[in-house]
C-alpha cells in the first residue's frame, strides 16, 4: 500500500470519505434505468436490469468503504467509542474503577522506579560487574575493613585484578572561605580510584599516577553538588585553591552529577598509603575496591587473595592470626539490605494492585448483570463471541490505561516525596525517576491488570445463555446470578485475606519502629548536643597544641549559660568506634583472645554529660587525664620505633580506664576487676571503675564490652574529636553560641555535623521509619480498597436479592431475620478472609524477619490488633447495606424489575 493511500486512510478515520456513495450509486442506477427505458423495457424490467448490471449494492458499498479503512483499526475505534459511551453512561462506575486503578498502578510505578534505579540498573561505571569490595576477617566474627599493610601486600602479590584502590572513611573537614568556616565531607582515595571505578570527571581530570605520594598530594576533585553549592558551578574552578582543615588543595576536577561514591562525599583528595601510621598490622582502617581482570571470576579472585592472606598470616602470626581476605561484589555491598526492603515493598504494592484489580473485577461483574440483556441483544444481532469479548476487553483496557496514565502522575508525586528521604532509605546508585523502563513496566501493568480484572467478567458475560437473558427477568429468585455470586464472594474473601497480610506486615514494622525509637541505649538522650571538631595537623602539630585547645574548648563550652555539662570524646554512643583484643593479666581463658573490647577516649566529664551511671569504683579523674597524656606520648614514640613487634614499655607507661559492666562480666567473670590490669599494645591498663552498659555500635547492634580511657591519650595521635553538651534548653538553640565560642578560639574551625542525640537516633531509624511509613500507607490503601470492595459486593447482593427478601418478608420473615441473613453473609466473608489472611501472613511474614527489631514475625499482639481493626472496618462495610435490606417494602420488592 502506498504511503499516500495510508495517509488518506488515516485522515479518513477522522473525516469519513465516500459518505456520498449511496447517493452516487443511486444516481448510477437511475441513469442505467433511463437507458434501459430508452431501449424499450418496461419500468419494472428497466429497474431490475439496472440492478443486475450493477451487482450486489451492499457488497459494493462495503468493499468501497473498505478501501478507506483497516477493518481492525476501525473496529477498535468502534469498540473504543462504544466503550466510551458505556462508561459515560455510568460515570460513577468509571470514576471509582479508574481511581482504584490509579492508586494501584501509581504505587507500583513509584516503587518500581526505585527498584529500577537501585537494583536493576547497573552501577553507572564502566563494566560495573567486575568491581568488587575487599574486607578482612578476624578472630571475632564479622567482616572488617582492611589493614593498610595487608592491602599493600594484596596489591603487590595478586594475579586477579586489573587494578585495586584503597580509600579512607569519609569524614567532615573544615573548609575555610569567606566568613565562618563551613564543613565538607571528604574522602582520601588512591590516585587510581576513579580509573578503577571506570568513571571520568565531568570537568578537568582525576588524579594522575603518583599524585598520592607525599609532596604531590595537594590536589582535589569535587562532587557536582559541592561544586554547585560551594562554587556556584564556576566553570573556571580548575586550578583554584580549596582549604581543607587548614591544608591548601588545588582543584583539578569535578565529577559528574551521577557520581555519589562514597555516598554523600563532597571532595576527593589523594590518599598517601606510605604514611607511617599505617605500618602496624592488625588495625583495620581502610576501605578497598578492585576491578577484576576480564576473564577472572569472583571466586577465583577470592581464592587468590585468600592464599595471599594465608601467606601474610604465616609471616606475621601475632598480628594476622585468622585475618583473611573476603570479596563482595561492589553492587551487592552498596545495595546492602535495601534490596530486602525494596522487594518487600514491591510485593506489597503488587498485592495492592491485585486488590485493586479484584475490586474492579467485582464492579465489572456487578455491571455485567445489568448489561446481560444488552450483550444478549448484540449477540443475537450477529456479534460473534470473540467480538463481544473484544469489546469488553477494550473497555477494560480503556479503564486500566487511563488508570496507568494517572498512576504515572501520582508516582511522579510520590517519588518527589521519596527522593527527599532516599539517602538513608536506599543508596543513591542511579538517579531515581520515571524512565523508559518504568514507563514500559507501567504500560505492561496496565495491560496485565486489564486482563486480570476484565477477562473473567468478559468470558462469563459472553458465555451467558442468550435466551435466559432476553427473557425479561434473569435476576429471579436464586436465579442465574448464583454462580457469579460465588465468584464475587471468593474475590472479596481473597481481598480481605491480602489486606490482612499487608496490615500484619505494616503492624510488625510499626512495632519494630517503636521498639527502636524507645530502645534503652544506656544514656539519657534528652537535651544532648554533639558536634565534631577536627584539629588540622598543620595548625596543631604537637600534643601540647592540641591539649591547650581542647582544654580551652571544654572550659569555654562549660561557660555557655545553657550548658550544664560539657565533655570531649573520640566517639559517642551509637556511632561505632575502635576496638581490639586485650590480654587480661592473670587470665588463661583462651576465648578472651576472640572477644573484642571497644575503646573510647573521654574527658572526665563524659559520664556525667551522657548520664551513664557509675556502678563501682570511680570515674576517670583529671589526674588520670594528666598522667595518661604524658604516658601516651612516650608509648606513641615507642610504638613508632617498634614497627610490627610488640614493644616493651618502661614501668611509668600505664593507662587508666573505666570499663562497662559487660566488659567486667566478659573478661573477669566473677572476679572484681577494679585495681586489676589488662594489656593493650604492650601497655598495662589499670581498671579504676565499672559503669553501666551503653550501646556504642548502633541501635540494631548488640552492646559490646567497652572501656573508657582518658581523652588525653587520643591527643597523642591527632585532633579528631566530638564535643558533647548537656543543655538545659533545646540543643538546637545552643548551636549558634557554640559556633561563636569555637571560632573565637580558632576562626578556621567549623562546627562539623551539629546534631542532638535524638537526631543521631533518627539517623539510625530513618530506614525503618520510611519503610514503616510506606508499608502502612500501602496497607491503609489496601484496607480502604477492600472495604469498598466488600461494601460494593454486599450492597449489590442486597439489590439483587431484593425480590427474594421481599418474598421472605411477605411470607412472614421479620426485618431482624433478614438483617441476620445478610449479616451472616458479610460476617462469613470477613471471618473467612481473616482466617485465610492469617495463614497468608504466616507464610509471608517470615520474609520480613530481617527488617524487624525486637519483634517476632508472628507477634500475637500485632495479629490480634490487625484482625480486630480489619473486622471492625469490614463490619461497617456490610452493616450499611444490610440495614438497607431491612427497610425493603415487600410489595415494592415483588413488583421490582
Amino acid at each position: 500500500m502506498s504511503l499516500r493511500r495510508t495517509w488518506a486512510k488515516l485522515r479518513a478515520l477522522f473525516h469519513p470519505e465516500a459518505s456520498d456513495l449511496p447517493e452516487e450509486i443511486q444516481s448510477h442506477l437511475s441513469m442505467e434505468e433511463a437507458d434501459n427505458l430508452a431501449r424499450g423495457m418496461t419500468p419494472e424490467e428497466a429497474r431490475l436490469a439496472a440492478r443486475q448490471r450493477f451487482g450486489n449494492v451492499t457488497l459494493i458499498v462495503e468493499r468501497t468503504r473498505d478501501m478507506w479503512t483497516w477493518t481492525n483499526l476501525e473496529m477498535l475505534k468502534m469498540d473504543a467509542l462504544y466503550g466510551l459511551r458505556q462508561l459515560r453512561r455510568s460515570p460513577g462506575f468509571a470514576i471509582v474503577a479508574i481511581l482504584t486503578l490509579t492508586f494501584g498502578t501509581g504505587a507500583n510505578t513509584a516503587i518500581f522506579s526505585v527498584v529500577n534505579a537501585v537494583l536493576l540498573q547497573p552501577l553507572p561505571f564502566s563494566a560495573p560487574d567486575r568491581l568488587v569490595s575487599g574486607f578482612e576477617t578476624e578472630a571475632a566474627p564479622g567482616d572488617y575493613p582492611v589493614n593498610p599493610a595487608d592491602y599493600l601486600d594484596w596489591q603487590a602479590r595478586n594475579h586477579s585484578f586489573d587494578s585495586t584502590s584503597a580509600y579512607s572513611w569519609t569524614r567532615p573537614y573544615s573548609i575555610a572561605g569567606q566568613g565562618a568556616a563551613a564543613a565538607a565531607a571528604g574522602t582520601e582515595v588512591q590516585a587510581n580510584f576513579f580509573h578503577t571505578l571506570g568513571i571520568a570527571p565531568m570537568l578537568g581530570r582525576g588524579f594522575a599516577q603518583g599524585e598520592d605520594s607525599a609532596g604531590n598530594n595537594h590536589v582535589a576533585v569535587l562532587s557536582f553538588g559541592f561544586w554547585k553549592s560551594q562554587f556556584g558551578g564556576d566553570r573556571n574552578i580548575l586550578g583554584k585553591t580549596l582549604t581543607l582543615d587548614a591544608d591548601r588543595y588545588t582543584v583539578v576536577g569535578v565529577m559528574p552529577p551521577i557520581f555519589h561514591f562514597p555516598a554523600g562525599n563532597d571532595v576527593w583528595i589523594p590518599f598517601n598509603m606510605q604514611e607511617k601510621q599505617f605500618s602496624q598490622r592488625g588495625n583495620h582502617g581502610i576501605r578497598v575496591l578492585g576491578r577484576l581482570k576480564q576473564a577472572v571470576t569472583l571466586a577465583q579472585a577470592g581464592r587468590d587473595l585468600l592464599n595471599i592472606s594465608r601467606q601474610i598470616e604465616k609471616e606475621f602470626p601475632d598480628q594476622n592470626k585468622n585475618v583473611h581476605a573476603v570479596l563482595i561484589p561492589l553492587k551487592k555491598q552498596l545495595v546492602g539490605d535495601s534490596e530486602q526492603r525494596l522487594l518487600v515493598l514491591l510485593c506489597a504494592v503488587g498485592l495492592v494492585l491485585l486488590i485493586a484489580c479484584v475490586n474492579v473485577a467485582n464492579l465489572l461483574l456487578a455491571r455485567a448483570a445489568g448489561r446481560q440483556r444488552e450483550i444478549a441483544l448484540r449477540a443475537s444481532l450477529g456479534a460473534g463471541r470473540f467480538r463481544l469479548v473484544r469489546q469488553l476487553i477494550t473497555e477494560s483496557l480503556m479503564l486500566s490505561l487511563t488508570g496507568a496514565l494517572l498512576g504515572i502522575a501520582g508516582a511522579w508525586w510520590l517519588l518527589r516525596l521519596l527522593d527527599r528521604a532516599t539517602t538513608h532509605f536506599v543508596p543513591r546508585l542511579n538517579p531515581i525517576g520515571i524512565d523508559a523502563h518504568v514507563l514500559l513496566f507501567t504500560l505492561l501493568l496496565g495491560v496485565v491488570s486489564a486482563m486480570l480484572f476484565g477477562l473473567v467478567p468478559a468470558l462469563q458475560l459472553s458465555r451467558g445463555r442468550l435466551n435466559d437473558s432476553l427473557k425479561a427477568s434473569a435476576q429471579s429468585v436464586g436465579g442465574a446470578g448464583a454462580g457469579r455470586q460465588t465468584l464475587r464472594d471468593i474475590l472479596v474473601l481473597s481481598e480481605i485475606a491480602i489486606t490482612l497480610a499487608l496490615l500484619v506486615g505494616a503492624g510488625l514494622l510499626l512495632r519494630s519502629f517503636v521498639k527502636l525509637e524507645t530502645a534503652d541505649i544506656g544514656i539519657d538522650t534528652n537535651n544532648l548536643l554533639t558536634v565534631n571538631i577536627n584539629l588540622p595537623d598543620t595548625s596543631y602539630p604537637t600534643f601540647a597544641d592540641r591539649r591547650r585547645f581542647f582544654d580551652a574548648l571544654e572550659q569555654r563550652a562549660q561557660q555557655i549559660p545553657a550548658v550544664k555539662q560539657a565533655a570531649i570524646s573520640v566517639e559517642i554512643p551509637l556511632e561505632g568506634g575502635n576496638n581490639g583484643y586485650v590480654v587480661i593479666d592473670g587470665s588463661k581463658d583462651r576465648d578472651l583472645a576472640k572477644t573484642l573490647l571497644g575503646f573510647n577516649y573521654v574527658t572526665p566529664g563524659y559520664l556525667k554529660t551522657f548520664g551513664i551511671p557509675l556502678l563501682r569504683g570511680r570515674g576517670l579523674t583529671s589526674s588520670d587525664y594528666e598522667h595518661d597524656g604524658i604516658a601516651a606520648q612516650k608509648a606513641y614514640q615507642i610504638w613508632q620505633a617498634a614497627g610490627n613487634q610488640t614493644p616493651k614499655m618502661p614501668p611509668d607507661v600505664i593507662f587508666h580506664a573505666a570499663i562497662s559492666r559487660g566488659a567486667a562480666r566478659a573478661f573477669w567473670k566473677k572476679q572484681d576487676p577494679i585495681g586489676n590490669t589488662f594489656h593493650y599494645g604492650g601497655v598495662p591498663v589499670v581498671v579504676v571503675g565499672i559503669v553501666d552498659d551503653v550501646n556504642e555500635y548502633g541501635l540494631r547492634q548488640e552492646t559490646l564490652p567497652q572501656a573508657y580511657f582518658p581523652f588525653s591519650i587520643a591527643q597523642a595521635y591527632g585532633g579528631g574529636s566530638t564535643l558533647t553538651l548537656r543543655t538545659s534548653v533545646s540543643p538546637a538553640s545552643v548551636v549558634r553560641e557554640l559556633r561563636v565560642t569555637v571560632q573565637r578560639l580558632d576562626p578556621g574551625l567549623a562546627l562539623l555535623h551539629p546534631r542532638s542525640m535524638q537526631d543521631v537516633i533518627a539517623d539510625q531509624t530513618e530506614d525503618t521509619r520510611m519503610q514503616t511509613l510506606l508499608l502502612s500507607g500501602f496497607a491503609a490503601l489496601a484496607l480502604i480498597l477492600s472495604s469498598v470492595g466488600l461494601y460494593g459486593v454486599m450492597s449489590y447482593t442486597v439489590t439483587q436479592r431484593t425480590r427474594e427478601i421481599g418474598i421472605r418478608m411477605a411470607i412472614g420473615a421479620s426485618p431482624g431475620d433478614v438483617l441476620r441473613m445478610i449479616l451472616l453473609h458479610g460476617l462469613g466473608l470477613t471471618l473467612g478472609g481473616i482466617a485465610c489472611g492469617v495463614l497468608l501472613s504466616f507464610a509471608l511474614s517470615r520474609s520480613i524477619t530481617g527488617l524487624l527489631f525486637g519483634t517476632s514475625p508472628f507477634d500475637p499482639l500485632v495479629f490480634a490488633a490487625v484482625a480486630t481493626l480489619l473486622a471492625a472496618i469490614a463490619t461497617i462495610a456490610y452493616v450499611i447495606p444490610a440495614r438497607r435490606a431491612t427497610v425493603i417494602d415487600p410489595t415494592q420488592a415483588l413488583r421490582a424489575d
Binding site: R5, E24, S27, H28, A34, F54, G55, T64, W68
Partner: protein, 119 residues
C-alpha cells in the same frame, strides 16, 4: 485481516480496470455510469464490466491522487459525481500504457512460436 488474500486478487483485476478508467477519463470528466458505458463501447463490448466493481477502483484512484471527484449535473439533468484526470493521473496513464504495450508484446512473442509449431 481476513480479507487480505482475496483483495490481492481483486487488485490484479482492478489493476487493468484502473488503466481503463484513466484512459476513459482522458476524453474529459464523466460520471461512473459514463465510465462504464465508455469501457463497453471502446472494447466493443468485449470487456463486460460489472458496473459496481468500478466504485472500489474509483476510490483507490482517488486515494492515489490520480483522479478527482466533484458533484455536478449530468447530460439528462441528474445530479451525478464527475471524475476527472489529474496531472499525476495523466503521467500514470502514460507509464501504464507503455508498460502494457511492452507486456502485451512480450506475451505475444512468447505465444507466437507455440502457434507456429502447432501449425
Amino acid at each position: 485481516m481476513r480479507k487480505r488474500p482475496s483483495s490481492d486478487q481483486v487488485d490484479l483485476v482492478f489493476g487493468a480496470l484502473d488503466v481503463l478508467i484513466l484512459r476513459t477519463l482522458l476524453w474529459g470528466p464523466t460520471h461512473g455510469h459514463g465510465i462504464a458505458k465508455s469501457i463497453e463501447r471502446l472494447s466493443q463490448d468485449t470487456l463486460k464490466v460489472e458496473h459496481g466493481s468500478l466504485y472500489p477502483a474509483l476510490q483507490r484512484l482517488l486515494q492515489e491522487g490520480w483522479i478527482k471527484a466533484n458533484w455536478g449535473i449530468s447530460e439528462n439533468n441528474q445530479r451525478a459525481k464527475f471524475y476527472r484526470l489529474t496531472p499525476a493521473g495523466k503521467r500514470k496513464l502514460t507509464d501504464e500504457t507503455s508498460r502494457w504495450e511492452r507486456f502485451a508484446a512480450a506475451v505475444t512473442g512468447v505465444l507466437r512460436p507455440a502457434e507456429s509449431e502447432e501449425s
